[in-house]
């Protein structure tokens, strides 16, 4: 059992990191095409090894700690962001058996870990002793706190429908109830959209990347970081989005459930597809202002999330939802 835990942990970590690395390449290639550019072409065939070259470059850079920074916090924050982002992957079932941590309180734990990822961001912003980083960290805290609520509420919808907080059970329930037929009728689609929006805001991705808004705050939280520490913040954002897409496809898109073939493949396919759509969204929209983002969360997403939760509850009481 322990051996299996080790093996599946390593496998999932490798899957996540590989998909992230090639996700980086894929995003740049896709963005290039959307912008009438070529994207990376030099390193490897069609630029495929670009992420590896980036990693090698970052690893070689000189780490610089600003004069008046809080050295320990400054040093610790970026690895922690990556760690927390990566930990969520343990809870996502990549197959009926391939889940390192098949926990009964999976959904709340995922949300808790997502909220935990906020703390190193704030640490990084405060420890830098830089005004841009401080502004960015302030925004990051407010934004993640605001979007935590709709995230919880929309994640409740599949929990109510499946009657379980275990992600594997949720997938199994979707498998039993033919998610493709039942799901979109009236609950799944809005809940899915709201979840994606809240997840993007939690992961600080464009169009919700206000903490990093590089046209205003230079680079926000990561302004003072160099080398691999910058790389960790960068990586954390990607891993966060990737794992977020994995969670979303588990909760709403049937997870590893597919008509044929190995289940891991279906999970990776769904995750990558969702990931690409998020890229597409990212390269199409301009960002909102911090206060508008808060207003969006509190005025629209929270009541909408509540309404969806109640509707889901009503649906389960009807003869079709039992």
């Amino acid at each position: 059992m322990t051996l299996f835990a080790w093996l599946s942990s390593i496998l999932v970590a490798v899957i996540v990191l590989t998909v992230t690395a090639f996700g980086l390449w894929w995003e740049r290639k896709l963005a290039g095409r959307m912008q009438s550019r070529l994207g990376p072409t030099i390193v490897g065939p069609i630029g495929l090894f670009q992420p590896i070259a980036d990693l090698l470059k970052l690893v070689q850079k000189e780490p610089i700690i600003p004069q008046r920074a809080d050295r320990a916090l400054f040093w610790l924050a970026p690895p922690l962001t990556t760690l927390f982002a990566l930990l969520v992957a343990a809870l996502v079932p990549f197959g009926p058996k391939l889940a390192p941590a098949n926990i009964d309180v999976g959904v709340p734990l995922i949300i808790a870990l997502g909220g935990l990822a906020l703390i190193p961001v704030w640490m990084a912003g405060w420890a830098s002793h830089n005004k841009y980083a401080l502004l960015g960290a302030m925004r990051a805290v407010a934004q993640s706190v605001s979007y935590g609520v709709p995230l919880v509420l929309t994640a409740l919808v599949p929990v109510i429908l499946a009657g379980s907080m275990n992600l594997n059970s949720i997938v199994a329930w979707q498998h039993r109830h033919h998610w493709l037929v039942v799901w979109p009728v009236f609950l799944g689609l809005p809940a899915f959209i709201l979840f994606i929006l809240a997840m993007l805001a939690e992961a600080n991705r464009i169009p919700f990347d206000i903490p990093e808004a590089e046209s205003e705050l230079v680079a926000g939280v990561s302004t003072e970081y160099t080398g691999m520490h910058f790389g960790f913040i960068y990586l954390a954002e990607y891993v966060h989005t990737l794992v977020g897409s994995a969670v979303a496809s588990t909760l709403f898109l049937g997870g590893w459930d597919g008509p044929f073939g190995p289940s891991v493949l279906w999970m990776v396919l769904k995750t990558c597809l969702l990931f690409s759509v998020l890229y597409w969204l990212r390269w199409s929209l301009v960002r909102l202002r911090a206060d508008q983002l808060m207003a969006l969360a509190w005025k629209w997403l929270v009541p909408a999330g509540l309404a969806l939760v109640l509707l889901a509850a009503v649906w389960t009481q009807t003869p079709w939802g039992r």
């Binding site: 095409r33 959307m34 009438s36 550019r37 070529l38 072409t41 597409w280 969204l281 390269w283 199409s284």
Partner: protein, 183 residues
């Protein structure tokens, strides 16, 4: 709702652009086609007898707005026609500060200085972009020359040229009239 709709419209627009061919090129591998009038670096020419066309008059040095040209006038006997005439003993053009304004080409009385169609290669030292006289004469032989010289530019700006030539083609600019205007 409207936000979602507008977001979808934006995404449609970017998708539309994704299927258009890319407009960037891989620079060192693929070179952009240059138009006929493209001009960058310089060359000094020889005249039809094979003698150096530059008479060392220094008109280009005087007109240059950023004063990157230095010419040293020397008088000696021509090796070909055995006549005593002016030569440039030394001619240096500092490309680092050149504005590529084409004025030196326009004022040359003997069409000696022209521009090239290919840029100089970048170098690691400042001297790499200082064109000495041997390099300028070398450019004449080794690199494609640009379209313009003083005669052609003058023909284009001839105040007496009128309705006679509707869209004049530059390559066939009438030389005699231009020579008159240039003198």
């Amino acid at each position: 709702m409207g936000y979602l709709l507008d977001g979808l419209k934006s995404m449609w627009t970017t998708a539309l652009n994704a299927i258009r061919p890319p407009f960037t090129q891989e620079f060192p591998k693929v070179l952009r086609p240059h138009p006929e009038r493209y001009h960058t670096s310089f060359a000094l020419l020889h005249d039809e007898t094979g003698d150096e066309a530059c008479t060392g008059c220094g008109a280009c040095a005087r007109i240059c707005p950023s004063q990157v040209i230095t010419v040293k006038l020397g008088k000696r006997e021509s090796a070909i026609t055995q006549k005593k005439r002016g030569y440039a003993d030394d001619f240096t053009l500092d490309l680092t500060a050149c504005l590529v304004c084409e004025l030196c080409v326009q004022v040359c009385p003997t069409d000696a200085i022209v521009m090239l169609k290919v840029p100089e290669l970048p170098g690691f030292r400042r001297e790499d972009l200082v064109l000495s006289m041997p390099r300028l004469y070398e450019n004449e032989k080794s690199k494609p020359l640009g379209w313009s010289n003083a005669t052609k530019l003058m023909a284009m700006q001839d105040p007496k040229a009128g309705a006679a030539k509707p869209e004049p083609s530059k390559e066939t600019a009438p030389a005699p009239a231009a020579a008159g205007a240039a003198s």
